[in-house]
Assembly symmetry: C2
Homo-oligomer: 230 residues x 2
């Protein structure tokens, strides 16, 4: 079956050290594979199309990554790393901002990645594919891509409504906020048909971010004031 992996593949992980010639086709393969996997899904994506786009031979994938799943795993790792960097960027804002500012910042950063990010819809489509047909890589998607944002929002929400972090109202409120964001990232096919006039341009996304923040803060502040006065 995969015995050739022991004899041919140089290493399952990218070898440290000076970039060799292979790294070029390796990166080209990951780049092309990202496009194809995101566009067609894991199963429907063909090694031949990936290699054609990468300008490589059909055998390149199996030589470099062992098999198709090895390539997919590597693509997902790359995508996660890019998303993690975006999250880290917005994390810099975290400590110095008020809870409300944190919430507004997270919402904005998350929505803006829809048009400003590198390879705008790669990550989203890959994750969507993981949602509908989870692979063993699902755990990493959640832990690296979603949990940091989730926890940061949870702290801010708890601070505003004045309830413990593990209170049910706190958790459900975070879900409400995240759900609103995810709607615009995951439901674009629906949105495009339900509201054809809604274009996700940068300044439109800006208004959407403001709306989500206003929409959410109306409840959070109301509950917070209720706690304070009662």
């Amino acid at each position: 079956m995969a015995h050739h992996a022991l004899t041919r593949i140089p290493s399952p992980v990218r070898p440290r050290g000076k970039p060799k010639a292979q790294d070029l086709t390796r990166d080209k393969l990951i780049e092309a594979a990202g496009t194809v996997f995101a566009g067609r899904g894991y199963r429907a994506a063909t090694i031949r199309e990936i290699c054609r786009r990468a300008g490589a031979n059909v055998a390149a994938v199996n030589y470099t990554f062992g098999d198709k799943m090895g390539l997919y795993t590597e693509v997902l790792r790359h995508s996660m790393r890019a998303a993690g960097q975006a999250a880290a960027m917005s994390a810099a804002l975290d400590s110095s901002l008020s809870p409300e500012g944190t919430i507004r910042g997270v919402i904005r950063a998350r929505l803006m990645s829809l048009c400003h990010g590198p390879r705008p819809d790669w990550h989203i489509r890959l994750v969507m594919h993981e949602f509908s047909h989870p692979t063993p890589a699902m755990g990493r998607v959640v832990d690296e891509g979603m949990r940091p944002i989730y926890e940061r929002v949870r702290k801010a929400v708890g601070a505003i409504i004045g309830l413990p972090l593990d209170h049910e109202t706190t958790r459900l409120s975070v879900n409400s906020i995240v759900g609103q964001i995810l709607f615009y990232t995951f439901s674009q096919p629906v949105l495009a048909r339900l509201q054809p006039e809604l274009k996700l341009t940068p300044d439109q996304l800006d208004r959407i971010a403001d709306h989500i923040a206003d929409f959410s803060l109306a409840y959070l502040k109301k509950v917070g004031h209720g706690k304070r006065h009662g």
Copy 2:
């Protein structure tokens, strides 16, 4: 290519009249195909597995539905009809309820279908697959499955906040509500990992529905009162 469709397929749609012998295998095929399509996605699902589960011959699909996409379309239509009945049920409440009651009713009905519906996760998984890898059947999914709910919520929201139905705030508010609902239907893989303690039992869903309604109405009422007083 598909010339056989003119010579062999009795009819592209189910023939009216007394149920013939074929209808039995036809229903068995749809039932089995629903499971397989939902579990593996359109592309990865194989006709052979569907027919094996249905206890039918490999040629049965092409004979009855023309081709694989014909079967998929029919499965989606069935799934949509079931969802449409649930929507129709809640539509009975529509005319007699206040806008707030309508919103609460839609949210509750939608969430409750997560545990009460027949074949609970078929429809969801099929639609999720359509989201990540749209097929030509996507249009129907939106038009029959989502637009009715969307429009009903839009009318109710417009009534509460006192803005035209096509005002941007109205549309974005509907998106916020729908997004919260969809979060619980589409993000279960994430939820199961982010909040393992959150079980979607009927009474838990009941509280979630109340929360989403409270969360949303806080903003809607605030805007509505603002309009009224200013």
